[in-house]
């Protein structure tokens, strides 16, 4: 990525959501606002690479977006008079970020809540959030999540149409506690989907970094919400370990085998601060627990020197809140590290998950390890073979990557 590309990416991420909100407030049409900003993003990619970086990138983007909005309003005819009246005004009236102090709460937040509204189809929320709030283009999103571009575009169009037709306003809802989990879930999903795609499918955007950034935007704007900080901490840690998670050829490296010197110490430090902030609010939840577990790993010098007792305790609490098979599998892996007696109990726990995870190679691999620990080498070998069958070739590796999307973050952490 060149300097100009890096600046372009940063500007788009920083400005897109703010511009959509500003244009919506100005013209009262969400679809026009979103379309106008998306158009400006696409233009910026071409123009900046051709002509170099403009002197004021944020203002450049704002001007282009506003011009697009006026064009769209004109072409849609119905609002022609409004457009005529407004076209005489200065283009750069939408204040770019580098000229105004960030309002409080963050002006991206109302947009984010609208994009994650429960009246929208769950699969549309993620796509719309990535496009409208952080300025990803439809082809980028389609590439990153391995979905058909046209299907995705349709999904986005339908969601935008519903926002307009059903009167979903851009605002931070009164029922904040009820709606925040939906927003956090979308940001979490954005990271996990990106995690799978991190073998490098979008050369010009780092989705993992975008998701971690967005989680911090949410937490900064809603500083009294512990789970928002929990998610920010979790994604910051995960992203801080991302470089060690894949080999240069794109294969997944399990946590125990990762080169810990590749972890980003400053990201982990920052995550620790988020986690402390969350803890100070005394309102625990699943994201904070996952972040706390990830932090135990991040602080351990090696797999062997990990504070397993602490991790097992945290999993006990997490499983009460989220008893999903993958969480229980990971809890069992941690339990088995405590000693032979615990390994036997972990094996029983893992066996109980067979009905839901029998098609998952890590379930077999985990069983194999536990069988070996409990002195049953023959069965261990059979389980290993089964795991290998499920991971045997490239096609199956791709299958596992697809599974990883459904069972996120199962590298043993």
């Amino acid at each position: 990525m060149t300097t100009s590309d890096a600046l372009l990416t940063a500007t788009i991420r920083e400005e897109s959501g703010r511009l959509v909100t500003a244009l919506y407030r100005r013209f009262g049409d969400f679809d026009v606002a979103e379309e106008a900003v998306q158009g400006a993003v696409v233009e910026a990619v071409t123009a900046w690479r051709r002509d170099g970086t403009p002197r004021r990138p944020a203002a450049w983007l704002a001007t282009a977006a506003q011009r697009n909005a006026l064009d769209l309003l004109r072409s849609r005819g119905r609002r022609a008079r409004v457009a005529e009246r407004l076209s005489g005004e200065q283009f750069d009236e939408v204040p770019p970020a580098d000229e105004v102090a960030a309002p409080d709460p963050d002006d991206r937040l109302p947009l984010l809540f609208a994009c994650c509204h429960p009246a929208l189809a769950p699969e549309a929320r993620l796509a719309l959030t990535l496009r409208a709030v952080i300025g990803l283009t439809t082809p980028q999103i389609a590439r990153a999540f391995l979905v058909n571009e046209q299907t995705l575009a349709q999904r986005i169009v339908r969601a935008k149409r519903k926002i307009v037709a059903a009167g979903i306003d851009l605002k931070v809802p009164e029922a904040l506690d009820e709606r925040l989990p939906d927003v956090l879930a979308v940001v979490y999903l954005a990271y996990n989907e990106a995690f799978v795609a991190s073998t490098g499918s979008t050369h010009d955007r780092d989705l993992g970094s975008d998701a971690a950034w967005l989680a911090e935007v949410v937490a900064d704007s809603l500083p009294d919400h512990a789970e928002a900080w929990g998610l920010a901490a979790l994604l910051r840690i995960q992203h801080g370990r991302a470089r060690a998670r894949f080999t240069p050829t794109g294969e997944l490296v399990l946590l125990r085998d990762q080169d810990r010197t590749l972890w980003d110490a400053s990201a982990i430090k920052r995550a620790g601060e988020h986690l402390e902030r969350a803890a100070s609010l005394r309102s625990p939840g699943p994201y904070q627990l996952q972040a706390a577990i990830a932090m135990c790993h991040a602080e351990a010098p090696s797999w062997e020197e990990t504070d397993w007792l602490q991790i097992v305790t945290l999993y006990g609490v997490l499983i009460r809140e989220d008893p999903s098979p993958v969480v229980r599998l990971n809890g069992a892996i941690a339990l088995a590290q405590l000693g032979p007696r615990q390994a036997a109990r972990a094996l029983a726990d893992v066996d109980a998950l067979g009905s839901s995870l029998a098609g998952y190679h890590l379930w077999h691999a985990t069983r194999a390890e536990l069988l070996r620990l409990t002195g049953r080498p023959d069965e261990a070998e059979a389980a290993d073979r089964r795991a290998l069958e499920l991971t045997g070739n490239d096609a199956e590796r791709r299958l596992i990557q697809t599974r990883l999307r459904r069972h996120p973050l199962t590298d043993g952490s």
């Binding site: 119905r78 509204h117 429960p118 009246a119 037709a165 059903a166 009167g167 979903i168 306003d169 605002k171 809802p173 009164e174 029922a175």
Partner: protein
Amino acid sequence: MKYVLMFTHDPAQLAGVSEEDTQAVYGKIYAWFQENASVITDSGAELQPVETATTVKHGGVVVDGPFNEAKEVVGGFSVIDVPDMDAAITLAKTWPHLELPGVAVEIRPMVEDYSQFE
């Protein structure tokens, strides 16, 4: 914005509710209309049971029964005028009949701007 609230239920599930509970909910529904009078622009209608439905289909075919085969049926509707979708959801959540099993409220925005058809 104007929305139609469509009050739906599953007659089979409601059949199991005692007469006493049904009457209690009806009392609350009456109060609900009073309390929300300021945003209800048309109190709409409560419909006779679904057994009374007759449907005219494409081609002029007249059939006995409701327009679809679903278990849930529309029992009535009202028109509300509230600022946005969140307000409509908030109001719909207070619909007293929701205390009973098989009851749901569908929220549908009304077409208000006919300029697109001009």
